[in-house]
Structures are given as structure tokens and as C-alpha cells.
């Protein structure tokens, strides 16, 4: 049985990765999960300089989901390399660094710095910033800007480059196409969907940041649809995510068109979610007589 997948040049021992921001820097979950078993660890989004993030409250639960407005708090690339990466390098698991910047130059510089570092197997650039108060971030919603920022990063890195798309757009396939044309090796979708909740007693937003990003099972049907749309229209590997709670959900994304999946909010509900999902995928392959997990990608019988 072959669980290996190749995502635009990035070889993973299995298609299950962690979703950025939901698995810390890996060490937080080492007590619950054998990190060696994961396809990849994708770390919390990093920027050149450390970021303080948003004031609390940063979280609110919603029906079958949650809103977060962490505000991209992170320790910065240098501290990550010095303090967190050595731990991750002890494991035989791909390390994918999720990163972002406030300008095209910052994106490019971050990519350059990360690419000069040993022990990083791939980069995932986050071009959607749902926690920005100012409505949304143009990196992930304006195709022209997307083209520029991805192009700039592409010039600075030879690592497999994954572009993580924002779902807050009219046409996700267009955004994926732009990312591909600008040099992305793969796309991740979806990031969180911008949402809001209000306390009717105080009439205040439940998040200090007013809006936040919706994740969890609530968004799964939207995420599956987006994966399906992009798969139908483009030949670029897709990492699917959004509400994956169990192996069945993960397989649904693969069948819709994903070559790998990432597990996010589920880690909070069940810290062992990732490895239980891997086990579940193996079970499914056995029961259905599937020899190679890659063979089910995009096999939905539709139209």
C-alpha cells in the first residue's frame, strides 16, 4: 500500500499534514502525536519580525465552527530558526514553513531567509489575512497583486512553493491560476472565511478585532467545493483543508481533487486527530482495495 504523495516536488510519506496555526510549532503536540508519522508539519505563520497579534478575545465558538482573530502572532523567523526548528529537525517528517509579509518585499525577503535555512522542506505562503480589520488583504483577493507577490517569492526560493489561497473571493480557480502562473508548485485551500459574531447584551463584537476567520466543520462543504472547482480547471496539486475532522472528511477532499490534506481545528477538538486520520485512511484503502492513495485524487464521479 502506497501512502506517499508528491506535491509539486515535495515528497510526503503520507498525505496528512497539519494546518498552519493549529499545531503551534509542532512541539505542543509532541506529547499526543508521534510527529514521525505525519506527512508534514506546517508551522504557525511566520514573518520577518515577531508579531504581537491582536488583543483578546481572540476566539469565539460558532455553530460547528470557530472564529479566530489571532492576528498572526508569531516569534519571527529568526527565533523560529534558532529555537523551534532544531526540535522539528529531530523528526523524519517534512517541515513546511507558513509565512507572510506586509509588503511584497517582506514576502520576498522572508522566502529568501527561509530558503537559506537547512531543514525546511517547503514553503507555504499565506496571502490571505482574514484577521485584518481593514476588510481584507489585497494579496489574496486582487489577482494582479497576487501575481506580483507570488512572482517575487518565486524568484527567491528553489523550495517547493505552496500558495495558500483565501476563500473570500468570487472565483477561486482564477486565484489558483494566477498563483500557478506566477510560479506556485501547489495551492492550499482553504484558509479561513471572514466572519463575525456579536454579543447582543453588550452589542460588542465577540472578537476584539471585530472580524475573524471561520474554520471547522461548518466550512467543509465550501472548502470541498473550492477544491473541486480548482481541480476541474487546473493542473496544479492541491492541499485541501477546511473542517476535516476524521478520515472520511480527509478522503472526501482527496476524491474532490486534493493530493494532500491539512488538519486544523480538529487538533483542538482531539489532539490525536492527525494520526487517527492517517489510520483511518489506511483502513479505507484496505477495505476499498486501493493500492496507492494518489489514485483517488479527483475521482469524484461528477458530470
Amino acid at each position: 500500500m502506497n501512502l506517499e504523495v508528491n506535491i509539486g516536488g515535495l515528497k510526503l510519506k503520507n498525505p496528512v499534514m497539519t494546518a498552519s496555526g493549529t499545531f503551534g510549532y509542532g512541539e505542543e503536540y509532541a506529547e499526543f502525536v508521534d510527529l514521525n508519522r505525519l506527512g508534514a508539519v506546517v508551522v504557525k505563520g511566520l514573518s520577518l519580525k515577531p508579531k504581537e497579534g491582536n488583543p483578546p478575545p481572540r476566539l469565539v465558538e460558532t455553530a460547528s465552527g470557530m472564529l479566530n482573530a489571532i492576528g498572526l502572532q508569531n516569534i519571527g523567523i529568526e527565533r523560529f530558526i534558532g529555537e523551534k526548528l532544531p526540535f522539528l529537525r529531530r523528526f523524519d517528517t517534512a517541515v513546511i514553513v507558513n509565512f507572510f509579509g506586509d509588503s511584497v518585499d517582506e514576502y520576498a525577503e522572508a522566502a529568501e531567509r527561509l530558503s537559506a535555512t537547512e531543514g525546511i522542506h517547503g514553503l507555504e505562503m499565506n496571502i490571505s489575512c482574514p484577521n485584518k480589520q481593514a476588510g481584507w488583504c489585497i494579496f489574496g483577493t486582487d489577482p494582479k497583486v497576487t501575481m506580483r507577490v507570488v512572482g517575487a517569492v518565486r524568484k527567491k526560493t528553489a523550495l517547493p512553493l505552496i500558495v495558500k489561497l483565501s476563500p473570500n473571493v468570487t472565483d477561486i480557480s482564477l486565484m489558483a491560476r494566477v498563483a500557478m502562473e506566477a510560479g506556485a508548485d501547489a495551492v492550499s485551500l482553504i484558509n479561513t472565511i471572514t466572519g463575525m459574531a456579536i454579543d447582543i447584551k453588550t452589542r460588542r463584537p465577540r472578537l476584539a478585532n471585530i472580524t475573524g476567520g471561520l474554520s471547522g466543520p461548518a466550512v467543509k462543504p465550501i472548502a470541498v467545493r473550492m477544491v473541486y472547482e480548482v481541480y476541474r480547471s487546473l493542473k496544479i496539486p492541491i492541499i485541501g483543508m477546511g473542517g476535516i475532522m476524521n478520515a472520511g472528511d480527509a478522503i472526501e477532499f482527496l476524491i474532490a481533487g486534493a493530493s494532500a490534506v491539512a488538519v486544523g481545528t480538529a487538533n483542538f477538538v482531539n489532539p490525536r486527530a492527525t494520526t487517527e486520520i492517517i489510520d483511518g485512511i489506511i483502513d479505507y484503502m484496505e477495505k476499498e482495495g486501493i493500492g496507492d492513495i494518489g489514485s483517488i485524487t479527483g475521482t469524484v464521479h461528477a458530470g
Binding site: 505542543e28 504557525k44 483578546p56 481572540r58 476566539l59 460547528s64 477538538v269 489532539p271
Partner: protein
Amino acid sequence: MEEPHPGQFYMLEVSKGMDPLLKRAFSLFRRTPEGIRLLFRIKGKGTSILRDLREGTEITVLGPLGNGYPLPSDKESPLVIAGGIGIASVFSLAEKISKKAFVFYGARTERELFVAGELEKIYKELVVCTDDGSCGVKGTVVDAVNDFVRNRDGIHQPVIYACGPNVMLREIAKTAAANGISAYVSLEEHMACGIGACLGCVVKTKTGYKRVCKEGPIFAAAEIVWQP
């Protein structure tokens, strides 16, 4: 099972479905030979579901989590202060430092004083207060603590341990600062992971945001940037 420290907490799964989705945080109330006891107040969906569970139902529990209260030294006189359901967090501390604690326990009214009976054997002195005077001293626990601190004998150095509503903790922090007393408070924030990964549960401290689930839930009161 890992041995819990007073002040640590657990995350409890409240439903097998997807709504409610996240686990709920509850402090260690008491460690017993059989296991652990939690004490909770019915607040919303999650706690209502927990109340309705059949005895014997199995649910997933994560913990013990967080840091716990630092224990007082022999020279220190521990003031253990609870507002309302805050008693859940400090009870096991008072139990552990058995008979040394000056316990202050306040609630709005008698009905909201939980487990007053169980407190019996574990305090050195107990002051119970209610806002409406329906039980114990009439007034807030903050007033009672202020009185005590003002009239203290000066032999022992008091150290404060407090859990309760945020406004109460803020006032206690002021009292402590004004009187040069160390104080430790147990804070609450909405949580997702409970293990330091999501950065969702932060509180503002003088050295930046800290995670309540990891660096806390117990913080030195002097470290916190209290919101007005």
C-alpha cells in the same frame, strides 16, 4: 493519570457531535483517591450538556493542563480568596496547605455559595460574605480582604491566591500592590486547544501577551496589565 497540582485545569469534551465543537475548561476542584472532581456552574450549551450526562458516560478529558499555584513558603500566610465559582480553582490549594489558609469566600447571595460545607476542615480562618448579606458578612470579598490586610498583625507575610470574576481579581491586585503583598490570580479566557498551540487564550502582561492555558492560568497579579 498525571498527578494534578492545585490551580491546574482540564479540557472536557462536551459532545460527540460538531456542536458544541470545542472542549470546555474546568479547574481541578479536588483530587480524591478515585480520581478527580470538578465543580462547574451551568453557563451555556456545554455545561448544560454535561449536567444532562448519564452517570457512567465516558467523555474525553485532556489534562491536567497549565501551571498551577506556587505553594506558599513556611513563613508565608496564604490568603485564599474565591468569588463565586472561583472556589473550584482554589479549593484544592486550601486543601493541600491544610489548616494554614485564611479563606475568603464571597458570592452574590447564599444560593451561589457552593460547597461551603466541604470547606469545613481545611481552613485556618474562614470569612464568608455575600453581596446581599444573606449569609456571612454583608459585602464583597474584596472589602473583607481589605479589612484583613489593614488589620493584619505583621508577623507573617501574607501571600494571596485568588480566583473569581475579573473585576474582583483586579481589585485584589490593587490591594496586593498597595500593600506589597505577592498575589497569584487564576485567569480565564476562551480556549480552543488548551495546550498552547492556537494562541487564542492570551492575556496582556507587562512582558507581552501570555497564554492562559500554558503560562497560566495562574499569573502573578503584578504581571497582568489589567483592563479598566
